[in-house]
Subunit: 269 residues, 2 copies
Amino acid sequence: MINRTVFFISDGTGITAGALGKLLEHFPSTSFTQVRLPFTDTLDKIKLAQDAILHATEEDGGRPVVIMTLGNIELRSTLKQSDAYFIDLFNTFIDPLSLELDQKPLRGAGIAHSVMGSKYNDRMEAVNFTLNHDDGMTNSGLEAAEVILVGVSRCGKTPTSVYLAMQFGVKAANYPLIPEDFERGTLPEILHKHLDKIFGLTIKPERLHAVRNERRAGSFYASLDNCRKEIATAEGLMRDAGITWADSTSRSVEELSAIILEKIRHPAK
Amino acid sequence: MINRTVFFISDGTGITAGALGKLLEHFPSTSFTQVRLPFTDTLDKIKLAQDAILHATEEDGGRPVVIMTLGNIELRSTLKQSDAYFIDLFNTFIDPLSLELDQKPLRGAGIAHSVMGSKYNDRMEAVNFTLNHDDGMTNSGLEAAEVILVGVSRCGKTPTSVYLAMQFGVKAANYPLIPEDFERGTLPEILHKHLDKIFGLTIKPERLHAVRNERRAGSFYASLDNCRKEIATAEGLMRDAGITWADSTSRSVEELSAIILEKIRHPAK
């Protein structure tokens, strides 16, 4: 396997550049070492970055990939004197977009991820809401939820809720389906009036068994037999209530969130 | 102010494309309507996207920006028959990177954000750890923390911890500094042996006062006077213990996380 170093060099957080790093998953035969150099906003720091590029080239036996967001033109052109494969987001996106929009871009550092950014406060409010409405913690305030995730314990409700809140500013509550609900044979009473914003998660029994066993090895709760029964009953409850659900077994929180967002924001589709 | 619609069109989650949307913050004089079209993986869905592009053009009086990640070449070229400003991440990044790396890219849908992606399990494990070690909830397992955030109540520890875990897979615990600690005049006992991985957050008194007032209006806890005293004492404790800290008042969780990551992963700098 080939080794390559990827640098994310930014005068701000480097988070936009880092997000593009996800595209490297398309090259599974290369092993990438990822190096973040945020707040690279002086010539001295650019020089340090150039030293690191040189060093990585020697180590890897190939020039690194550099994904960069630098607003300052001098810093940008200095960095590019190094031998590397540059992906320059200002050059590639912001400058052409500036022509398209006929509008000069802001060139300051850290603009993409400042607290001044659009929706920042909404996102933080959503994170607070979600953490306060995790795992059926409280029934109050569910009216304000944009979505309520339901499903058996340990099927992925919490990380998915947190991702929806942090990334998209969605107030996502989540509510576990527990043995009490299975015995009664209906969804928890409090959820009945919120059916229109409930989304279900399910999971394969074998996977749930493995996940629960990590927490409580050998328990009845974690047994494959109990996992099978809980899942079948939970799916029955959701089916009866007309709730859409998705299987979390082989989906990332990013994928689940995209599916849920699609459903709650474009319900017609 | 000009209106423009931005479409994020992907055969997967559209999250990588969406991340680039942050670059639009560089054009504050344009009001962008953001439309996500994930899982656009058939010709029929491409046609629907094209209809939406046409409709947005009429509404805005200008052609939309389309940020796209489509692995399938036929879908890609069909979509591009529409009149829009296209930012094609396959064209711009993956194909040139393929030449640079001398390696064919995977072209399937949803590769960037699958559960098979590198570090996915580490990230989910970190999220669980962080939620279980929020707000000093438990003292057990702090050994496994990569960083422990400390600071007064409501200074931003929780959302920053969650972001560090979700985005970077950092096991981030957080521990509040409370009146008991201020009276005793030292950090909580449990933290003494973890000084090397503690990072402090502070905040301006006026901002803390406003944040706390939203929760408990008119309380002593939220009073400007108490906020001033708590912050001064907390900063004193952190200074005495030699803890690095950052001010969260005008920094986003993305910025704070980048600062903290820099400190814990490259402590020499």
